[in-house]
Subunit: 216 residues, 2 copies
């Protein structure tokens, strides 16, 4: 049974990006620290065209998360790497390069209609302007019996959570305090989402927490 | 070597109390859900004068945390259970009863000087008006070679963290989204506190995350 999953890294103080985001620093100040757990892993390096890397409990968690991945949903900012004027910017798909690491259909939630982009390696970017439910629906159809991964950022994650679209929520908690930036959980009504803890895994320098959301 | 430890339960979205705190509901709306992991444990029930309860991985974590406890530091609100006018309120120590579950010296950080209170069972409440560093210093002296536990709430925790007073930070992450209330981490400068992940334990319906803060 295909699942809709959110898989995202958060600082211990709740941020998925640090303060003062710029084009040069799309994850904000110290935001790169969030993903330190992943850069050295073979499972991350291979789809990014890099050789080598470690195989350990963290790469197992990452492999598992990607194993059945059939489609991705992401926000416009995650697509364009913080470029505001991405519709006309030649770097509009420069953030992910010509050969993005997804290898599956990617649905980008945006306010601006745009023709689909077919990239190398099986990644296609399709732009969805009628909301998160429509994006997830299209992604489900594209994924068939495989899973849909909500890639982020925070706004898409919050919309999916609030709309009750998630079957699984995996939060990788990084041992970092960013002190400001973009919160993963913001603007949810109290009691809107009930969670069940499914699994806790001790990574090398990260905690992998998995939950199943249920109607509150 | 005596350690200064913060041990606190936080919702996945970062709150240690829910919205709309009242005297009747000092942990705010749905705030009681935070501590569900603890109420059924023998290790929690015994010092609260209750019989029975479970022994499991969560009680081990709790036992370990309390095992070497020599003194407690807490905020005024945690002392009085949300009573604003506690200085003259006969319920001022009613929140914890005549026989509080600590059994060690407790230092209450407050703006209002007050005579110490000696309670049953070895608990004494001493009121400290000159800041968190002074409270921790007094608690260290009282604890001798045992540990000092910062009990909360969030404000005391933030002050201790920002002042670099903690040797260990244990956050019990409850599978709850409160959507609002009192954040554990608030008002920290980015980069102010660097953390090292020390341990991750999968509890029955909670994740026990332990960190060692270091100067940022």
């Amino acid at each position: 049974m295909a699942k809709v999953k959110l898989d995202i890294t958060m600082s211990l103080d709740g941020f998925v990006a640090g303060p003062d985001r710029t084009i040069e620093q799309p994850l904000g100040e110290r935001g790169d620290l969030l993903h330190e757990w992943v850069y050295g892993l073979a499972s991350w390096r291979a789809p990014h065209g890099l050789e080598g890397g470690e195989t350990n409990v963290d790469s197992e968690v990452l492999d598992e998360s990607m194993a059945n991945n059939g489609a991705v949903v992401m926000g416009r900012r995650m697509f364009s790497g913080g470029h505001g004027a991405w519709e006309v910017d030649p770097r509009a798909h420069g953030w992910w390069g010509d050969d993005p690491p997804f290898g599956v259909p990617v649905f980008v939630l945006t306010h601006h209609a745009r023709q689909p982009l077919a990239m190398k390696g099986g990644t296609t970017f399709t732009f969805v302007t009628d909301g998160v439910e429509a994006a997830v629906e299209q992604a489900r159809a594209a994924a068939g019996d495989r899973d849909v991964n909500i890639g982020g950022g925070a706004s898409v994650a919050q919309q999916a959570l609030a709309a009750g679209l998630l079957d699984e929520l995996q939060v990788h908690v990084a041992p970092v305090l960013l002190g400001g930036g973009v919160r993963l959980f913001e603007g949810l009504d109290a009691g809107q989402v009930a969670l069940e803890q499914a699994r806790v895994v001790e990574g090398q320098n990260v905690a992998h927490l998995t939950y199943r959301p249920a109607a509150g």
